[in-house]
């Protein structure tokens, strides 16, 4: 019922609609209250809203001074992060935008002295590994060494796809739609012609535009790796109604036949999970319209078995691979994902089943989880015990955590839009994407 629910319920759609017409401060407050009221939730919606908002913030600020822009973005970012500290993607996007501004400012300065040197750089793909190519090179060795020694997935290492292999052999991967290799860092090199009086603001806006594009394409980019990881006749276990996972499986299903066991993730996500499995329209405003028309796996002839969460351990012995979506990924390789993920990951560990996490790079947070209790959000207790049961409500404390923290050692592989990475390697991607100065905004 888009006709009635559209104007009624505030959410991402209404926010984006009003963003253009409202003054910028209104939009900031608006997003803050939407985040607080949880009317915008899910990582992607939060990230998209943040990116659009920051784009408006920057286009509204009439200055070309990088420091002022940084201050402004920091101020807005702090408020947004305070509004919903557990949506870590908000902070991630803010940090990336700050990084963009800093890059532009530095380029501006470098450009003054050193145009020719910068121009001579032939493959300037990684945003910040450039300054010292040897460093990047050694890192690459280190990375591949680790991959070899850990050897978590024999099947996978046969065709190791890490970011650096991707960078060094870009040809086969370039067929992917809008690979971030070309997306994230390239915009700034367009600035040559402008010389010293380069328009930082315009460059940053371009950069944010690319982040927004990335957010739109990230699932498809991840899905492009599906055929490398899912093989015929495998039994895959997954959890929640994550669209990233669904697209990943769908992509593989187009070519291969396999079996999916889907844990229903009661009580917070079971309805959406059921809808995903059965292909019913989930009625979820947060999802963009194209995704809600997605075909279910069963339409492609894949056997999908829906199981209660409690049966995960019993079935784990038959599972070849566990594929999980996530809420956010932390710098130490651990992750915060829908409640129940940790149980699955542990069960997989016991049975030595490989655990693969699919996640966009935008979910990767530079936050190191010293106190992971604080990262977990507690939801509505009535989903666990019905509120009608007055005697019970009166006497017991009911807790309904929405998320689980899964430590890095339970994860075998991350697949991001940049490729597959070992958990221990994520720190490198963090340092690629975020500036040291911005880790604490």
């Amino acid at each position: 019922m888009p006709s009635t629910s559209g104007p009624l319920t505030p959410g991402l759609a209404s926010f984006l609609k009003t963003l253009k017409t409202n003054p910028i401060d209104t939009s900031i407050d608006n997003l803050i209250s939407l985040l607080k009221r949880r009317q915008i939730r899910h990582s992607r919606s939060c990230a998209t809203a943040t990116a659009y908002l920051l784009r408006s913030v920057i286009s509204a600020s009439r200055t070309n001074d990088a420091n002022k822009l940084i201050e402004r973005v920091q101020y807005v970012g702090r408020r947004l992060m305070a509004a919903q500290p557990r949506e870590m993607v908000v902070g991630n996007i803010v940090r990336r935008v700050l990084g963009l501004i800093r890059d532009e400012a530095e380029d501006d300065r470098e450009g003054d002295f050193n145009l020719s040197e910068a121009g001579s750089e032939s493959q300037p793909q990684t945003p910040r590994g450039l300054d010292d190519p040897t460093d990047a090179l050694s890192a690459r060795h280190e990375g591949s060494d680790r991959g070899a020694s850990r050897n978590p997935l024999p099947a996978l290492t046969a065709a190791p796809i890490s970011m650096f292999s991707l960078l060094s052999h870009p040809e086969p991967e370039n067929s992917l739609p809008g690979t971030p290799v070309s997306a994230s860092p390239s915009g700034r090199w367009l600035g040559f012609g402008h010389g010293p009086s380069k328009d930082i603001r315009a460059e940053v806006l371009d950069g944010i535009g690319e982040i927004i594009d990335e957010l739109g394409q990230v699932d498809d980019q991840i899905a492009a790796y599906a055929l490398d990881h899912i093989h015929s006749n495998e039994i895959i276990l997954t959890h929640t109604s994550s669209t990233t996972v669904q697209k990943f499986l769908l992509k593989a299903a187009a070519k291969r036949k396999f079996t999916v066991i889907h844990a229903e993730s009661y009580p917070n996500n079971h309805e959406a999970t059921h809808a995903t499995v059965s292909g019913a329209n989930p009625h979820d405003d947060e999802l963009l319209s194209t995704e809600s028309f997605q075909k279910p796996l069963i339409a492609l002839g894949i056997t999908v078995i829906l199981i209660p969460d409690s049966a995960v351990f019993a079935l784990m012995s038959r599972v070849n691979k566990v594929i999980l979506g996530t809420h956010s990924v932390l710098a130490n390789g651990g992750l915060v994902a829908a409640a129940g993920t940790r149980v699955i990951a542990r069960a997989a560990k016991v049975h030595q089943t490989p655990v693969v996490v699919v996640s966009g790079v935008y979910k990767l947070s530079p936050v190191y989880p010293f106190d992971f209790d604080s990262l977990i959000e507690y939801g509505d207790a009535s989903k666990v015990i019905s509120y009608e049961d007055g005697d019970l409500v009166d006497q017991i404390d009911v807790q309904n955590p929405l998320y689980d923290y899964v430590p890095a050692e339970l994860i075998d592989l991350y697949i991001t839009n940049l490729g597959g990475h070992a958990p221990s390697y994520l720190y490198r991607i963090v340092s690629d994407h975020y500036r040291k100065e911005d880790i604490s905004v």
């Binding site: 019922m1 006709s3 009635t4 629910s5 559209g6 104007p7 009624l8 319920t9 505030p10 409202n22 003054p23 401060d25 209104t26 939009s27 900031i28 407050d29 608006n30 209250s33 607080k36 009221r37 949880r38 009317q39 305070a82 509004a83 209790d373 604080s374 507690y378 939801g379 509505d380 207790a381 009535s382 989903k383 019905s386 509120y387 009608e388 049961d389 007055g390 005697d391 409500v393 009166d394 404390d397 009911v398 807790q399 309904n400």
Partner: protein, 700 residues
């Protein structure tokens, strides 16, 4: 799924219409109840903090969630405070989700008045939501709204949808003393009958359901397990219905009951939307305050929890064990903070203090060795060393000394200071708000607050139990009329006088009438309404009309009508005299202008015995016993009634001879001055009769 599918095409059909229609909401910031006294003496109820956030924030948040764009906020008591608060809040900022937030002040004394006022203002253009300013809910309202619209589309007479939350038989959030019973036709979600059952009153434990309801409906649900959270989706017809029935005051007990009863007459139907998930509750009394606070802390109301930080500037974080703590809290090393606790910024807690199930506001100072259990300590309160507070409320800036004990149910209002070593006993209410009777600074009662403390025990007009308004909640009076904001000439004082009157009278008149509760209602309501009209100088026709309609609804006897009229008249007379008028002038003014009303309550003009007139005189006499200069007023009243030919000479005689009029010392004293008038009457009569005799003689 079934009904939804049916509704969907219709929705799409009138999509263009619904999109243009902005959703409006009316917030009743004052619910015209006294449940939160003594706190509400100084602060509007919807600004009382619930888990450190003012109540109204939750309600507005709910409306914002529901996508409401126009909000009309009706302030009642202390509306200036509320207005100040709203104007400074984020709801007035340009980023407010409301396109329009209108603050309406009114002199209303009931929900009914507010609705009629709203109808007069013509502000409502389409469907609107009515909520009271103390609703806490995380319910997305679209479902109910869509159903309501579909129903209205199908049938213009479906005027209202009530949202009810299902809850078990015993539930902490349910009202415990008065339980509403809904009779519902589950096939159409239609509410057929509504009644409130008062568990403390044995008379009202029966439901009266018309036999026709049972015969004419296939299926009937009788439900007592519903939390009525007073969220109503209404069509503009509701307002006109309120206006039509001008004596309705309460939204449920009278309006809902009345509309359902008059279904045959007006054909309007009221529907229910029963929800099984999501949270919806009202902070209707202190017991509910406690229950809802617990619900919020246990996250049943998610996302409306302290760590959502609804107010800008709040920065609560959730720690293990439902402990919400703001930054800048000073905790002594040896203090023990138990589960389910909220601690605001700037609060310090001393050594070896135990805190459990407690909400602490900002900048509180809790001493050493203090025990807090189930307590609600509002901003800036100070608790001295060694004190124990259990299940009590300590309001803003109140000070509790050292080694005190505050027992369960005690309410310590704003700024009260309790000296060291005092034991505040169970259910005690202490305030230092100016009393209504004496305008000056209230004197402290050392026996309550100890030597050097400030504050006195607050005694509500109606004897209310702690935390729970118990039997009074059902009496309708507390619910409708007793209203805090009224000043010295308030209805509350009037009603209490009437009840005094009723009490003493029933001693002396025990034979003449049965003094059941129903009649008291009527007398209260009618007296209040007549008195209002007199004060506002409404014409006697209107007063008469209102009185008659009240009489009809309550099926009151003539005696009750007279009682109501007399107490209203006398009250007005007394007030005029206070204003500097002479007794004679005052009496003449009132009785002259409203002669008809008195006249119409008497039906014995043609008969020999004059019981009605005697009754009236007795009532007047009785009423004046308690008033200053009652004797003088009685004299003038008697004379005026005679001059206006309302009361005949015979009636005066009968009254004078009636033993009831001289039964007590007070009664005799009041009528002492009237002696001369009666003597004069007797003389005149004698003369008359002798004249007659003479004329007869002449004839012969």
């Amino acid at each position: 799924m079934g009904p939804k599918k049916g509704g969907a095409p219709k929705q799409r059909g009138n999509a263009t219409e619904t999109v243009e229609e902005t959703l409006q909401a009316v917030v009743l910031a004052d619910t015209f109840e006294t449940r939160f006294e003594p706190f509400t003496l100084e602060r509007p109820r919807c600004l009382l903090p619930l888990a450190n956030t003012p109540l109204i924030e939750y309600t507005l948040e709910f409306l914002a969630n529901a996508g409401v764009e126009d909000v009309f906020l009706y302030g009642g008591a202390h509306s200036d405070q509320l207005e100040r608060y709203i104007n400074a809040s984020k709801w007035r900022a340009p980023s407010s989700p409301f396109k329009q937030l209108t603050f309406l002040k009114s002199t209303s004394t009931s929900v009914g008045d507010v609705m009629r006022d709203l109808d007069g203002k013509h502000l409502i253009t389409g469907d609107f939501i009515v909520v009271s300013g103390d609703v806490i809910s995380n319910l997305p309202i679209e479902g109910a709204l869509a159903k309501h619209r579909a129903r209205r589309e199908a049938d213009k007479n479906a005027i209202m949808t009530m949202i009810l939350r299902e809850a078990g038989r015993n539930h902490r959030t349910k009202a415990s003393s008065v339980s509403p019973v809904f009779v519902i036709d589950p096939t159409k979600d239609r509410c057929l009958h509504y009644e409130e059952i008062d568990q403390h009153n044995p008379d009202s434990t029966r439901l009266n359901i018309e036999a026709e309801l049972i015969t004419s409906h296939q299926e009937i649900d009788l439900r007592q397990d519903l939390i009525d959270c007073n969220i109503d989706i209404c069509t503009p017809d509701v307002l006109s219905l309120w206006s039509d029935s001008f004596d309705y005051q309460a939204p449920r007990k009278q309006f809902l009951f009345g509309v359902l009863k008059d279904y045959e007459l007006n054909g309007k139907t009221i529907h229910t939307h029963i929800i099984k998930d999501h949270y919806a509750a009202r902070v209707r009394n202190l017991k509910a305050y406690d229950a809802v606070s617990k619900d919020i802390i246990s996250r049943w109301t998610y996302p409306l929890c302290p760590d959502t930080n609804l107010l800008p500037g709040h920065n609560y974080e959730l720690r293990k064990g439902s402990l919400y703590q703001e930054q800048g809290v000073t905790l002594a090393r040896s203090c023990v903070i138990g589960r389910r606790t909220v601690i605001g910024q700037g609060t310090s807690i001393g050594d070896k203090t135990t805190v459990k199930d407690t909400v602490l506001g900002r900048d509180c100072k809790i001493g050493k060795n203090v025990t807090l259990e189930g307590a609600y300590i509002w901003d800036g309160a100070v608790i001295g060393d060694g004190t124990t507070v259990k299940q009590a409320i300590v309001a803003d800036r109140a000070v509790v000394g050292k080694n005190c004990t505050v027992e369960a149910g005690a309410l310590i209002s704003f700024g009260v200071e309790i000296a060291d070593g005092v034991n505040v006993s169970e259910g005690l209410r202490i305030t230092k708000a100016p009393r209504e009777e004496d305008d000056g600074v209230p004197t402290s009662e050392p026996e309550v607050v100890g030597e050097g403390g400030t504050g006195y025990e607050y005694v509500p007009y109606e004897d209310e139990d702690e935390d729970d308004t118990a039997s009074n909640a059902s009496s309708g009076l507390v619910y409708n009329m007793a209203h805090l904001s009224l000043s010295s000439d308030s209805i509350s004082t009037l009603s209490s006088e009437i009840s005094d009157f009723g009490g003493s009278r029933s001693g002396s008149f025990s034979t003449t009438m049965s003094d059941d509760e129903e009649s008291d209602h009527f007398v209260h309501d009618a007296a209040a309404s007549v008195y209002d009209s007199l004060r506002d100088a409404v014409t006697s026709d209107v007063v008469q009309l209102e009185l008659v309609s009240l009489r009809m609804t309550a099926n009151a006897s003539d005696h009750q009508v007279r009682r109501a009229v007399v107490s209203a008249f006398m009250k007005r007379v007394a007030q005029l005299m206070e204003g500097g008028k002479g007794a004679g002038d005052a009496v003449r003014e009132i009785f002259g202008k409203y002669r008809e009303i008195v006249e119409r309550s008497l039906f014995d003009r043609e008969r020999e015995a004059k019981p009605d007139q005697v009754d009236l005189l007795l009532l007047i006499q009785q009423d004046l016993v308690h008033r200053s200069r009652g004797d003088t007023v009685l004299l003038f009243t008697a004379k005026e009634l005679y001059d206006l030919e309302i009361i005949d000479e015979e009636a005066y005689e009968q009254w004078w001879d009636d033993e009831r009029s001289s039964s007590t010392e007070e009664m005799r004293q009041v009528r002492s001055q009237t002696q001369q008038f009666v003597d004069w009457l007797a003389n005149a009569e004698e003369e008359e009769s002798s004249e007659e005799e003479e004329s007869e003689e002449d004839d012969e």
